[in-house]
């Protein structure tokens, strides 16, 4: 037998590590998701100390480390603060299938919120047709099609009649 440790062949074994999860939304997100599903409304929490309105709602205000317990309703319209046109076919983890590029992700600050929400934007993937500061509205699935997860939001779309600032 050859005693020398010489590599004769490189072997790589393919394996898919498929671990199924069921994530609890928790009290705060469950209320957010049921309000969205049942009433088509966005709700956030307001910090009792700094008054920051946070979305998604969560148990503690990070800045003050106090418990959030005041709920506020937010508008379903807001302002785009950032965006990207995606050319990579990123995987939708709920289906395992890629989002078909090009598509647009946007960060939108709903009126009344201090946080932004990230989601798909239904706009032509063209830098002339999308800009920071653009006014947006949320488009939800019809009531009977909503299931109580983030897919109840179809996308954002621009409010009509806007012109790109020069």
């Amino acid at each position: 037998m050859n005693q020398k440790n010489t590599v004769t062949e490189q072997i790589c074994v393919p394996m898919t590590v498929d671990v199924p999860y069921r994530f609890a939304a928790g009290k705060y997100m469950a209320r957010f998701l049921t309000e969205l599903r049942d009433n088509g409304r966005f709700v956030g929490v307001k910090c009792p100390s700094c008054n920051r309105v946070q979305m998604p709602p969560r148990v503690v205000c990070a800045a003050c480390h106090v418990k959030n317990d005041e709920w506020v309703e937010l508008s379903s319209e807001g302002t785009m603060v950032g965006f990207t046109i995606m050319y990579l076919p990123l995987t939708d983890p709920t289906t395992g299938k890629p989002h078909e590029p090009p598509f647009v992700y946007g960060s939108v600050r709903l009126d009344g919120s201090d946080s932004t929400v990230e989601h798909m934007v239904n706009v032509e993937p063209d830098l002339d047709k999308i800009w920071v500061g653009m006014r947006m509205k949320v488009v939800l699935r019809d009531r009977e099609e909503r299931i109580g997860d983030l897919s109840d939001i179809i996308h954002f779309e621009p409010l009509p009649g806007q012109k790109r600032p020069q």
Binding site: M29, Y87, L88, S115, E118, V132
Partner: protein
């Protein structure tokens, strides 16, 4: 208790797109064997602690360190894992020695990005109920940050492209680099667009590799080497987890981490007091943003420093003379590679990429999307 901690040895693999010839343990052992040989130290006699840095989902194994405790010197001994960027291994290695508990610690960071798909791994970093199902990953989140940063200061894709040109040019002198070359503006701007405004050249490539380092107390360090590099300052800070809670054009966590590290090191004016910076430019725009966080320039002014040559290897304050992460350094390894590159500069062992008369340097690492966690380490050879 030790007053000072020194880096006494560094070993790094070459970074390459795919190391199909080596499993994770063999890859890690390449650098462990080398750093022990270079320093003349033995696991059994000299090393009293190991801190490794890797990532369960990248490695495809729960508690990714447990399979390589043998090569890391953790067999029937202690070993701790940082599930974060490698710079935090240096942070906690130094803290352990400053506490007096340990005298000589082996640090390790390793990742084989070729094993799986970075977009799927990075998507798992996002909160499962609210943002993960959008498919967001570090590149798309980075693009949102880049766009926000451009909007805040009127920056252009050309400003980011100049960072790529500088760093890949610097990487020509780095024999470990995977991606290097003298490129023009058009080369970067016309590269395949991944997530507007970021092209494939604005993003660090997928590579495999490992870095090992040994840190020691002052008394031990002086017995090991004539060129100890002192860890003079440490800082660590988290920003908000949800992207929507932050103005992505700012980097408050880095400002705070840098303030801690500078205070500890007695640095009042980073531009004057530092001779070079190694920072984690996972994406081109980050070099400009992190320069603000590190107090090198005012918001929006990093682009001018790049364009004027201020941050070139021959400039007043070289930034990423190694070529940085854009030249190809694996996720999780990138921060320890920054510390290693800064240490090599201060040891005078940086070869062709050596910055003249380097006495003090800062290394920066970050974990998570858009630099949520920031770690800053100040090093000096005096």
């Amino acid at each position: 208790m030790s007053d000072r901690v020194a880096i006494v040895g560094v070993a790094q693999t070459r970074f390459s797109p795919k190391r199909a010839d080596a499993n994770v343990a063999e890859l890690a052992y390449e650098v462990i064997e080398k750093v022990l040989n270079d320093t003349g130290l033995s696991i059994e006699k000299d090393i009293d602690n190991t801190i490794s840095c890797s990532h369960d989902i990248w490695d495809g194994q729960t508690i990714s360190n447990i399979g390589i405790t043998d090569v890391a010197g953790g067999h029937l001994r202690t070993e701790e894992k940082m599930a974060m960027d490698g710079s935090t291994a240096a942070y906690y290695g130094a803290v352990g020695i400053l506490s007096g508990e340990y005298e000589c610690t082996l640090l390790l960071a390793h990742t084989k990005m070729s094993q799986t798909n970075r977009h799927i791994v990075n998507n798992d970093a996002f909160e499962p109920i609210y943002s993960r199902q959008l498919g967001l990953d570090f590149t798309s989140a980075g693009a949102l940050q880049a766009r926000r940063f451009m909007h805040a200061h009127g920056l252009s894709r050309e400003d980011f492209a100049r960072v790529v040109m500088k760093n890949l040019g610097n990487a020509m002198a780095n024999p470990l680099a995977c991606r290097f070359g003298y490129y023009g503006l058009d080369d970067v701007l016309s590269a395949p667009m991944e997530a507007d405004p970021l092209t494939a050249m604005d993003a660090a490539p997928d590579v495999d590799g490992a870095v090992a380092m040994i840190v020691a107390s002052e008394s031990k360090a002086k017995k090991i080497t004539d060129t100890p590099v002192w860890i003079q300052g440490l800082g660590s800070c988290y920003d908000d987890y949800f992207l929507g809670d932050r103005d992505l054009a700012e980097c408050m966590a880095l400002e705070k981490a840098a303030a801690q590290a500078y205070k500890m090191a007695g640095i009042s004016n980073p531009v004057k007091d530092l001779d070079l910076i190694e920072l984690s430019d996972e994406f081109s725009y980050q070099e400009l943003l992190w320069l603000e966080g590190l107090g090198v320039c005012k918001p929006g002014e990093g682009a001018r420093l790049t364009e004027s040559g201020f941050t070139s290897r021959e400039g007043e304050l070289p930034v990423n003379p190694s070529g940085g992460v854009l030249s190809g350094v694996p996720a999780n390894v990138m921060g320890l590679n920054r510390v290693a590159e800064a240490a090599l500069q201060l040891m005078g062992k940086a070869g062709e990429r050596q910055v003249k008369d380097a006495k003090r340097a800062v290394a920066q690492g970050h974990t998570g999307f858009c630099g949520q966690h920031q770690c800053v380490i100040v090093l000096g050879n005096q």
